[in-house]
Symmetry: C2
Subunit: 221 residues, 2 copies
Amino acid sequence: MRLAELSERSGVAIATIKYYLREGLLPPGRRVSATTADYDEGHLRRLRLVRAMIQVGQVPVANVRKVLGHVDDESLGRTIRLGAALWALPREPEPADGDGDGGAEDEAMAAARAEVDSLLRALGWSTAREVGELSPVHRSLVAAVATLMRLGYPWDAALMAPYAQLMHQVAVRDLDFVETHPSEAEQVETAVAATILFRPVLNALHRLAQEEESARRYGLE
Amino acid sequence: MRLAELSERSGVAIATIKYYLREGLLPPGRRVSATTADYDEGHLRRLRLVRAMIQVGQVPVANVRKVLGHVDDESLGRTIRLGAALWALPREPEPADGDGDGGAEDEAMAAARAEVDSLLRALGWSTAREVGELSPVHRSLVAAVATLMRLGYPWDAALMAPYAQLMHQVAVRDLDFVETHPSEAEQVETAVAATILFRPVLNALHRLAQEEESARRYGLE
DNA sequence: CATGATTGGATAGTGGCACTCGCCAACGGA
DNA sequence: TCCGTTGGCGAGTGCCACTATCCAATCATG
């Protein structure tokens, strides 16, 4: 398959594919001659994954490169490899607020950290801490809770726990789905794709459920 | 409170506040003189809401303006007002893919629409259809499912239903939380803030739960 | 063999958008 | 009185995914 066909079948413009090749998001094709390279189904799959991350997941190009690096690293165990790949996903917005409340920043962060720790302890979840407590997911959770607190919403471990348990049920289903794929490489790729692609579905379902429940409670007054 | 103080207490740069005033995201202060205006706690709350939408929710400025228009529209019933506000939130990425698969685009969309309809019927949810089937949430759900299908993931109503039910449980808790606020205006504002701000928390909990479950199943091999 | 189209590669430019800078005339407190 | 500050406004900045253009080498065809 040549570049033009890859572009057609993926629906991605040639110039964009060239850009991805340059940025290392797509491995170069097998060189047939000085001016021709050959691409296969693997390239197509990879290209779709990249598009999913960038378009749907809004993952910055630099992070996509990191994620793919982990996906392709066969020297790692499944959990680690999967964790490493997802590790690199977040497009963290920005930690510091600058000239704002000054010390209040650290205050909210500290309180949030305490609540999150308390939550994890209550649930018996260990992951984040054992891996070094610096998991991006863990940190983004703390940051999100801190934001809530700064805006004056009381959001403690007791309130979070039921949400966490519900999300755990969701996670169980996620992994069940991933396990339907045979090879480990495919599982890792599926996990990344699913993490990216399920989120809009979940979010939409969430909002739809809110609308439904709101209509149930208040009608359409 | 003058501009400088509003800036200090909110942590938002003066130039940015001026920008929000210009864009109509923040109502003008009470004019004290030709060169001085007075801002109150309401401005501070509104400013925080705007920041939450833009920074955390990544809602484009134009949509923020629309949302606030609905939040401030006291002529609407609660459900409608809330729905209208949330209605304007999404930062829809882009519907069409352009030169891609051509007709396959509509094919995936049609299949996705069918699955979503089937799901809603199975659950007995009515909201989206009664309001006119054009709810942005409904459409974004269809779009998200279509994307999954295009990438080759089998994602039908049967698979979605349990997720939807879990998200409904989440929604019940959300509304319980919103109801702890007394006034309707505050409820609407809280609902918007919650919709924006809870998402990162939920997402982080989801990912954390995935890590936890993954570690439980596969250890740290 | 001639010749026009296509390829991979490289460089510079585009567009959108949330800000941010700099300037202005009009205050307002010491 | 007078200098620092205010609100307002137009133009500029930075970021970043993408795209337009050009180029020489090569392939496909008559």
